[in-house]
């Protein structure tokens, strides 16, 4: 092994350890910084979004190249391993058809979830009668070409290790790979948000029965993903189940007990849950104490108050975030510097990984992303 490669290995291990300590709420020499900007990377590097979506190798190469260009010295890691085609993987997570660039949408536009009630009320009975995996087998053709989905999964299986190796060569630690969620999110994606929310008022007991049936599969998916990748952390998605969206009487019964069960089951296997929680969860932060201590990484998008998180959960879980998408679009480099400075001052120095909130958007100003990298250089050192 060359000296340069040796140095990179050492750097990678330093960064890995820094991230690990942060999640465990231990002191660190520097607040780690992670990249997250799926669609920003190709736009920044001048690649049409369709090419980025269609060719899986492009996703890996362009993401790593964007990170290098923004500042190879800055990034300790990347929020999720950039492995595989985005549209099939989003389809599996949302159970919705995803409109793709170069297909339904212009070449250089962003993919978008097509919100509609593809899943019908009678499907609840099908899930209960036939089982979740059997239901999915019949369901997928409604939202994606099944051959395409299979090919995509095969590509990931074959190339997972090489993508991990590429990240290592660049010195970037993939914080998580793959994902799972609670039954609520899958059903909500399939039924559409408006229909599913109304189902929750009309046929709550039936849905609860379906969720209880689905839950072991969600747990199994999370464990399986981590075992296959060897990365001991998975995304646990929370989008439409956010506190600000759901009435407490529903949330207390249909949302949070499932997050508790899922995160504890993963923690029992040594797997960290990266709680990718979009929207505003402030109302229920006290309840997060019921999630496994030091085995969750709260990944918010700027809408949940991280100062409040620090106050309530500072000795319970670390956070990753949360430079907001809107600020990356509309702000100035000075705004970004101030945001990062204040975030580190108020939420650091332990238990914080600096990262764009949710995902740096496709039209984030390049100078703002560069400012985030520069602000990390300036402020992340722990004195």
């Amino acid at each position: 092994m060359s000296e340069a490669m040796n140095e990179m290995q050492t750097l990678y291990e330093e960064r890995r350890l820094r991230i690990e300590k942060t999640i465990a709420l231990e002191p660190v020499d520097r607040i780690p910084t992670a990249y997250m900007g799926m669609a920003f990377a190709p736009r920044y590097m001048g690649m049409p979004i369709a090419d980025f979506c269609e060719v899986p190798e492009n996703r890996t190469e362009v993401t790593l190249a964007a990170m290098d260009k923004l500042g190879a010295d800055v990034w300790d890691g990347i929020n999720a391993l950039p492995c595989g085609r985005i549209v099939p993987s989003l389809t599996s997570a949302w159970l919705s058809h995803i409109a793709a660039p170069g297909r339904e949408l212009p070449e250089d536009s962003l993919w978008q979830v097509q919100e509609s009630d593809v899943m019908k009320p009678e499907d609840y009975d099908v899930i209960l009668d036939k089982g979740w995996p059997e239901f999915l087998e019949g369901y997928y053709p409604r939202v994606i070409d099944v051959d395409e989905l299979k090919e995509s999964n095969i590509w990931v299986s074959k190339n997972l290790q090489s993508v991990k190796d590429k990240c290592r060569e660049h010195g970037y630690v993939p914080i998580s790979f793959g994902g799972t969620s609670i039954p609520f999110e899958y059903l909500c994606g399939g039924r559409s948000m408006s229909r599913f929310y109304i189902d929750l008022y009309r046929i709550k007991d039936k849905i609860k029965e379906v969720m209880d049936h689905m839950m072991p599969y969600m747990i199994r998916e999370g464990i399986h993903t981590a075992e296959v990748s060897g990365i001991p952390a998975v995304w646990v998605g929370g989008w439409r189940s956010a506190s600000s969206l759901i009435a407490p009487k529903i949330w207390d019964e249909m949302v949070f007990p499932y997050f508790i069960e899922l995160t504890h089951a993963l923690a029992d296997k040594g797997i960290v849950s990266v709680l990718h929680f979009d929207q505003d969860w402030n109302r229920d932060l006290e309840r997060f104490k019921e999630l496994p201590a030091k085995m969750c990484l709260l990944n918010t998008d700027g809408m949940t108050d991280l100062r409040k998180v620090k106050e309530i959960l500072g000795d319970h879980m670390a956070v990753i975030g949360d430079v907001p998408s809107a600020l990356l679009y509309s702000g100035t480099p000075d705004d970004i510097f101030k945001y990062v400075h204040d975030l580190i001052r108020d939420v650091g120095p332990t238990g914080l990984i600096l990262c764009p909130g949710c995902d740096a958007p496709i039209n984030a100003k390049p100078e703002n992303m560069e400012a985030m990298a520069a602000a990390s250089r300036e402020y992340s050192q722990v004195v």
Binding site: A99, S109, L110, Q112, Q114, E115, M193, S194, Y197, I198, L200, Y201, R202, S243, S244, L245, I246, A247, P248, I250, Q279, R283, G302, P324, S325, A326, L327, L328, Y329, S330, G331, D335, P361, I362, N363, A364
Partner: protein
């Protein structure tokens, strides 16, 4: 009985609301009076949302109930004349196909007795301008969930200026990532974090009274 209807809607008691509406119609109550009672119930829902007693799911459920009431009352309302308190044009801007937030706002605006022209999703700037000209609406709402929507919002505001309508229209924007900074960049007059904020803005601009 209409008091019960207001309460039932405010409590999101779907079956009870529909039953009372049917009973009232059979009993000879005018459709317009029943609708106005339901609008009061929806106002109560909005108030509870502002007080953080209700959440988005509650707004959606109330909208669903209100929609069903509208279907039941429709034949009786055709002969009635209800003067709307003002006109609003609304849509999700070009390049964005998300309609959930926009639809909640549309329901809440309608239940506030406003004449709403809903242009749907992925609406090009020129379509907003045409709709404003046709309806003479003085309030425009633009929605978008993606940050990409911000460019379209800005373009739309620009086209409204070019068409000479800017001083005749108050523009509000909303959607997941929208904030004051985005509002400034886009050139809108104000922004709303939720559906009730949109109703409040529209009512204020149309000068039709907002409860403190």
């Amino acid at each position: 009985m209409l008091e019960q209807l207001i309460k039932a809607l405010a409590e999101l008691e779907e079956d009870q609301v529909l039953e009372i509406v049917r009973q009232e119609l059979v009993g000879g109550t005018e459709a317009l009076a029943i609708l106005q009672a339901c609008q009061q119930g929806m106002t109560e829902v909005g108030d509870r949302f502002e007080k953080k007693e209700y959440f988005v799911s509650d707004l959606m459920m109330s909208g669903e109930i209100f929609k069903q009431v509208g279907v039941i009352l429709e034949p009786g309302l055709q002969s009635a004349t209800q003067v709307c308190a003002g006109a609003v044009v609304i849509g999700t801007v070009q390049g964005d196909i998300h309609d959930i937030g926009k639809d909640i706002v549309v329901n809440m605006l309608k239940s506030a007795n406003l004449d709403v022209t809903d242009l749907g999703v992925d609406v090009p700037p020129v379509q907003f301008v045409d709709a404003l000209k046709q309806t003479k609406a003085s309030v425009l709402g633009m929605s978008g969930l993606l940050t990409l929507a911000f460019d379209s919002m800005k373009e739309t505001v620009g086209l409204i200026e070019e068409a000479g309508l800017r001083d005749k229209v108050r523009i509000m924007i909303g959607g997941g990532p929208v904030d004051g900074g985005v509002c400034r960049v886009v050139g809108a007059d104000d922004w709303g974090a939720d559906a009730q904020a949109a109703v409040r803005l529209a009512k204020t601009w149309l000068d039709i009274g907002v409860q403190a």
